[in-house]
Symmetry: C2
Amino acid sequence: MPDGRGITFPRGFIAGAVAAGVKDGTPDRLDVAVLASPVPCVAAAVFTSNQVIAAPCVVTRRHLGAGRLRGVVVNSGNANACTGEQGERDAVAMAAAAALLVGARCEELAVASTGVIGVPLPAERIAAALRGLELAVDGGEAFARAIMTTDTRPKVAEREVRVGGRAVRVGGVAKGAGMIHPNMATLLAFLTTDAEIDAATARDLLKGAVGETFNAISVDGDTSTNDMALLLASGASGVTIDRETRPAFAAALREVCGELARAIVADGEGATKLFEVRVRSAASAADARAAARTITSSNLVKTAIHGADPNWGRILAAAGRSGARVDQRRASVRIGDVPVFVQGAPVAFDADAVRRIFERSTIEIDVDLGIGEAEARAWGCDLSAEYVRINAEYTT
Amino acid sequence: MPDGRGITFPRGFIAGAVAAGVKDGTPDRLDVAVLASPVPCVAAAVFTSNQVIAAPCVVTRRHLGAGRLRGVVVNSGNANACTGEQGERDAVAMAAAAALLVGARCEELAVASTGVIGVPLPAERIAAALRGLELAVDGGEAFARAIMTTDTRPKVAEREVRVGGRAVRVGGVAKGAGMIHPNMATLLAFLTTDAEIDAATARDLLKGAVGETFNAISVDGDTSTNDMALLLASGASGVTIDRETRPAFAAALREVCGELARAIVADGEGATKLFEVRVRSAASAADARAAARTITSSNLVKTAIHGADPNWGRILAAAGRSGARVDQRRASVRIGDVPVFVQGAPVAFDADAVRRIFERSTIEIDVDLGIGEAEARAWGCDLSAEYVRINAEYTT
């Protein structure tokens, strides 16, 4: 039964966290976390598409290429990005220190960081703190707290599915962007399963799930240098993911990723509302996705939703600049269950009804492009004065 | 000598404005303006790249195809966008009413609108008001005021250049986004000259000038449905733009466009500062432009500048996600005259000095990608809580 442990809910995983004082002035805050497996795990990962990629992403990609992983070590408070060659040496040192704790080789550890960009990582302080870290089967919760930065709450998700009469578990933890410390839109997600799964299938399923979930959310349109989603499969359930068991497992993985992704948007910096945009009848899946993501990233759409302003023209205007094929004579827009624009013409609508929909904590927007068959969904949050306040504060 | 008349500074142009009550509740506000020439003018225009294009842009493009223009009629307070087929009929009716005033054919008038999207244009009210509009050589100022929406001040620019011993004048007027009325990021720019110029050269020079000026600014990253820049050449100076006179004229046109573009950014909704990003040593001009525009559009860069936060990592992270080729090992970043990142490594810098630079009303950021020869400049404004307030308010 799901119990809130997240990544240590699947069998074969232990975790823990420690306060290393990564950031000066917060010596008591949990800021270094380790997830480990006693046996080597099949691993798959996706990384930021930002060309300015952080050192831990570079090192983890290299370690993944060497084979199976025994775990991951993460710090918050410092992104170890734009730190030059020293940054890579520091990321390797952090992996080595965690490997010592886990009893693995350095190359068997993934490493992730999130925090301020361009400040050297205090690698020695982290290594020293790792020596006192304790790993346990109920350590998933401490892990979830330790990777938070501006997040206001930890984000964990779990699923148990019956596959061929046996239980397979999927767990996950993620961090997004909140309100303690600016400059940290990094998305980190760690996913575990006790399914037995081959590496190619793991990559496939992770890529598919991330595309529909984490890659479909936006807090502020700025892609981090440190984004990473990592899946570790211990095989401890004894259930193999094959052609028959794959659909149920894929659905569980997608649900865990989706729950974490929505939790990140709802807890976006300064966010008070979550909105879901569904774009239908697009010429292609890429078009549907481009339109949906552009709408969820539009400052004008986000501020209209913040102010409960039934200003639907901004939605259509965002679709029109998204690069997707749009023919305004065939497009329709619905807010909640209220049509506001139907096949190329505005319709009279009850503005108060739309205002009430915009005042909900979750809002659905439906855009029908009237061209093809493809559809996509994306999630965004409102843009508030609080977002500006958080991000205009000094980091130093 | 330049005298603040803007578009009626070049010889051969008259203008005027009237209060038509386009928007309910503001009956006394100038909101319909006409610019006219007694003789047909060579005309060139560029329009929004948004596929959801407003009716006046569609109609003006059609009229331009029919030959020379005698003028333009503009209203503020209603964008006539997303208004279906009725919108096109209303735009034509507006052109026809202005043509009657000017003594021209309907097809000789350009038409432009800016304001709320998706609300039917009160075309009859506009036509009635046009009957009382007076055109004069000093009407450029009233025109500049009448096209304002959320702008806080009118935007005009003028240049006089000596070409082959004779004076050629270029005038311009523009509107951007300010703080009276949300939902109006429309950029409208009207440029006049008394030079004699052929249509192909006019198109060429306008496209070049717009690319380096209006298309290099960003207030909030949302492309309007109504953007339009129109150049009218009366020929009244008797000076012909040929291979010899072209450089001086092109420079004057670019300067007028640049002055208006920077005025729009400085008066962006909620803006308190203007910043200029220069990207150098890029692999291509397109790369340089993409990096510069992504930096000026980044909410995280904009909020850091708003808060005078020396958080330079956001600048490099924005370049890294811009699509431009970026190799962080070769990149350098300078804020004002302070280097913060040099050839792939962060450098110790005086954070207070950078804070003081960020507190200026105009800030220069220099990004050297260290790859090629191309460069580009772009202009942006800070993102303030006031921007959110303006755009979260009810439109209806």
